[in-house]
Symmetry: C2
Subunit: 196 residues, 2 copies
């Protein structure tokens, strides 16, 4: 409905995840009213992310060099591997400040529906790392059907290696009200109850 | 929390209206997984919109040349002016297919809170156009406090010119249920009731 360049931008923005036609229009008009230098900085950031961001050769986290920040850090223990689905999960675990080991990013979770097989995830490299002297593998996958399927698959694949495999505890979220909790979580919290 | 270019992009995206930190992260990872050529097309569309899109010299709608599509169209009547707040309102009115006149885009609405005075809107040019032989000025501003303030201001400013000034009707939206309607709209619909 708009002329040339403006409609092109609205179309391009509308392809981004979570950006509907109304948001795309709103963002486009916002950019139209923004200083050219700021818009150019956004455009440059887009191009740079494709040029500069790669995946870590060791753990497949996002990285600017051959290896990510965490794999480059000699103070992180190599004996414990935390397996996550996506790079954003690395950030989530790092935020807790609880974990001082290394990560392994699968790049997704197994899904028969979406055709995600173990070969399409970074599983072979995980098994190789687990074999090369790791004490514990923590499966920090999502508590979704796909995540749990992946956890079971990895548990079976890691079993012959004699490495300790753990998963995150299920339970009541801190600050959460029981009333609002789904049955699955509440029943898991009951089963895993601890004596005080 | 991410390295260099990825965090830069997340920061830039997070500045866009309606894009929170979570959406910015989601869009950034989406782009990371997108073909380079597609990301470059988005970046180019951003730069082009600033280079190519201007505001129409006559009506201040968005335009790629000196004048917008509508002002360039000789079949649009010059006798009726439809005054709107923003270019997106031009699109909304055009979608109805009801209006064959010209537009005047104010570039916003009066707001004491945000310091938007008549001088910061395209008011002087509207008064000039109204003076130069226009039969009717339709005030198609938003039904917000700011829009209505603007409508009253323009009504007073246009009064001495002897031009007919109209505004959009208030009423029950087509397909709307009375039950869900706010009192203001319903009372306006009552006052403007028509005999069948």
């Amino acid at each position: 409905v708009y002329e040339g360049a403006l409609q092109d931008l609205i179309d391009e923005l509308g392809r981004l995840p979570g950006v509907g036609p109304k948001s795309a229009q709103r963002i486009a008009f916002h950019l139209l009213a923004t200083d050219q230098v700021d818009v150019k900085r956004l455009a440059a950031a887009l191009v740079r992310v494709k040029d500069e961001v790669r995946f870590c050769a060791t753990c497949f986290n996002v990285a600017e060099g051959e290896q990510c920040q965490i794999c480059r850090n000699p103070r992180r223990s190599e004996e414990v591997l935390c397996v996550v689905e996506e790079p954003k999960d690395v950030v989530a675990v790092e935020r807790t400040g609880e974990f001082r080991g290394r990560y392994h990013v699968l790049g997704g979770a197994l899904s028969a529906l979406d055709g995600v097989t173990p070969e399409r995830l970074n599983v072979a490299s995980l098994l190789k790392r687990a074999r090369d002297g790791v004490d514990e593998v923590i499966l920090a996958v999502n508590a979704t059907v796909e995540g749990q399927t992946t956890a079971h698959y990895l548990m079976d694949a890691l079993a012959p290696m004699g490495v300790k495999v753990t998963r995150l505890a299920h339970g009541v979220p801190v600050g959460g009200e029981l009333d609002y909790l789904d049955e699955g979580t509440l029943s898991a919290a009951f089963k895993a109850r601890r004596s005080l």
